[in-house]
């Protein structure tokens, strides 16, 4: 059984097709990152999987259950972390975690859970007194109180400091290695790149990429280098027959890798061209595409 199965799902709000006939799955023991620009349809999809929304058409199964019709049963084994809010401002950390541990009744120790998310010293603090990062940690703790088989985590590292991010990543990896299917919604592509096994990329209500991170990155090769800002990208593009993108003094050429010798040939042609135009060549780098570049390419024309 797949942990999450989405088949031909559409979610419409009046004339707006927020989600338009999408299908994907998430497996136990894997971290699936759901990415996309704002308004791409990822929140509507995840909220449908969580049982907050009824699909306009199509089918969703989480742990084999219909999230809308079998919500209460499903929520015994599903952990949900909202992007923000979810706790009364005057509620204290310790009692909120204890409340959720009792609600799920899965023999999770509130004390251990608070320590695990690094809030051991903030047990008596109220939600309103917590920093943004601490609020995210508390929200994560509430999802963990379910001892989940499926966890939907929305922006778990948003506002969390660098050390805290390492802790949160560790928790996410632990969840997956315990067999939990983690569905991670995030705008932080660096975060997704670090923890995700699989990426589902949304754009304008459709899925434009659904693959393992390794496959996605190896599908295209990128040559990066630094040179003078006076470099004529159009002239270089004409010379090598590929688009050249520029960001200040950093230049990038991306192509579908069909032949392993293609990269070395391209590097050679670029360096010769730069030499003949008396332009410097620094920090040359050849490798798989970064998730950020893939995201930009596949979601061009929609702000993130």
């Amino acid at each position: 059984m797949t942990a999450v199965e989405v088949a031909n799902l559409s979610v419409h709000y009046g004339p707006l097709r927020a989600v338009d006939d999408v299908s994907f799955g998430a497996a136990f023991g894997e971290v699936t990152a759901v990415l996309g620009p704002n308004g791409a349809g990822k929140t509507s999809t995840i909220e449908t999987c969580e049982g907050f929304r009824r699909p306009t058409s199509g089918a969703v199964r989480v742990l084999g259950l219909d999230p809308w019709a079998q919500r209460t049963t499903l929520h015994r084994e599903v952990g949900v972390m909202l992007q923000d809010g979810g706790v009364y401002p005057s509620a204290r950390v310790g009692e909120t975690v204890a409340q959720y541990c009792r609600l799920y009744n899965r023999s999770v120790s509130p004390t251990e859970l608070v320590d695990r998310v690094g809030l051991g010293s903030r047990v008596t603090s109220t939600w309103r007194r917590l920093s943004g990062g601490e609020k995210q940690r508390l929200s994560l703790a509430l999802a963990l109180a379910a001892k989940p088989r499926v966890a939907f985590l929305d922006e778990p590292t948003s506002g969390v400091d660098v050390n805290g991010r390492d802790d949160v990543r560790g928790i996410i990896r632990d969840l997956a290695s315990d067999g939990c299917a983690v569905i991670l919604a995030t705008h932080e592509l660096d975060e997704a790149e670090r923890v995700a096994d699989r990426v589902v990329l949304f754009n304008r209500g459709k899925i434009v990429a659904d693959s393992t991170l390794a496959n996605l990155r190896s599908a295209r090769t990128t040559v990066r280098f630094r040179s003078s800002t006076t470099l004529d990208t159009a002239a270089l593009a004409r010379h090598i027959g590929l688009d050249v993108s520029a960001n200040d003094d950093e230049f990038m050429v991306s192509f579908t890798a069909t032949d392993s010798s293609m990269a070395s040939d391209l590097v050679s042609r670029i360096s010769v061209w730069l030499g003949s135009n008396a332009l410097p060549l620094h920090d040359l780098n050849v490798g798989g595409e970064r998730l950020e570049d893939i995201f930009r390419m596949l979601t061009k024309g929609q702000g993130s």
């Binding site: 929520h75 599903v78 609600l103 799920y104 009744n105």
Partner: protein, 241 residues
């Protein structure tokens, strides 16, 4: 059972911690009864104002807890996405409503004990009181006011709901005939007042606790209609987030 008990604890803990809610539910009714029960300045048409005031203030207390306090707290819970987060737990809507109902009942029990005690201390002497009938009226009244509070909370933003609930509280306090007899109002306002759940509850409580000799059939009809209509409106229109 564990989930329900946990949620009841959480509800009661929030009530204890929210000072402004305690002011509305306990402070204002006690203050009004204490002040107007000691100073005879209201046109109550009775020998002792306390006999008129106690049933009315008991009705006010029910309105404070089940409409204002419950409605405001629920409205803010909706704004803060607390309800949305709880909806993703095994608690379920039924147990959430049960927990809120039990929390309201606990607060009302404390209110009743304190108000009756203060009334007795100020010389109130209930005559052949029918406490069971009074309790039944309080239960029906609670449904009516909770329905109003949740209908507002389920549709308005937290801050707007706060203002609307407090405004309505004041209007129902004045038009409900709790501090002075409705006959003192102009005919139009008197008619409006008689259609309010506040007056209906106060009228039934006055009759059941003081053998006031009222014909309370109309009041039961009015209160019952509010108790059926408003929870139905709330259930139909409530938005969880």
């Amino acid at each position: 059972m564990s989930a329900l008990r946990s949620q009841i604890d959480a509800e009661l803990s929030l009530v204890r911690r929210n000072g402004e809610q305690l002011l509305v539910t306990l402070g204002i009714p006690l203050l009004l009864l204490g002040f107007f029960g000691s100073v005879d300045i209201l046109p109550t048409n009775t020998d002792d104002p306390i006999d008129f005031l106690v049933p009315g203030i008991l009705a006010l207390a029910v309105m404070s807890t089940s409409m204002v306090s419950l409605g405001i707290a629920t409205g803010f819970e909706r704004s803060y996405l607390v309800l949305k987060r709880l909806a993703a737990t095994p608690l379920g809507t039924g147990r959430l409503i049960a927990a809120k109902t039990i929390a309201v009942a606990c607060v009302e029990a404390v209110q009743m004990v304190l108000l009756v005690a203060l009334g007795l201390a100020l010389g109130w002497s209930p005559e052949s009181a029918n406490w069971l009938l009074a309790l039944a009226a309080v239960v029906v009244g609670t449904f009516a006011f909770a329905g109003i509070g949740l209908a507002l909370a389920g549709n308005l933003r937290g801050e707007v709901n706060l203002a609307a609930s407090n405004g309505l509280y004041l209007i129902l306090l004045l038009l409900g005939g709790l501090l002075f007899p409705l006959e003192r109002l102009p005919a139009f306002l008197e008619a409006v007042g008689r259609a309010t759940p506040t007056h209906a509850l106060a009228d039934i409580l006055a009759d059941s606790l003081m053998s006031a000799g009222h014909h309370t059939g109309t009041s039961w009809l009015v209160l019952g209609a509010w108790a059926i209509a408003m929870p139905a409106v709330a259930a139909r229109t409530f938005r969880w987030n």
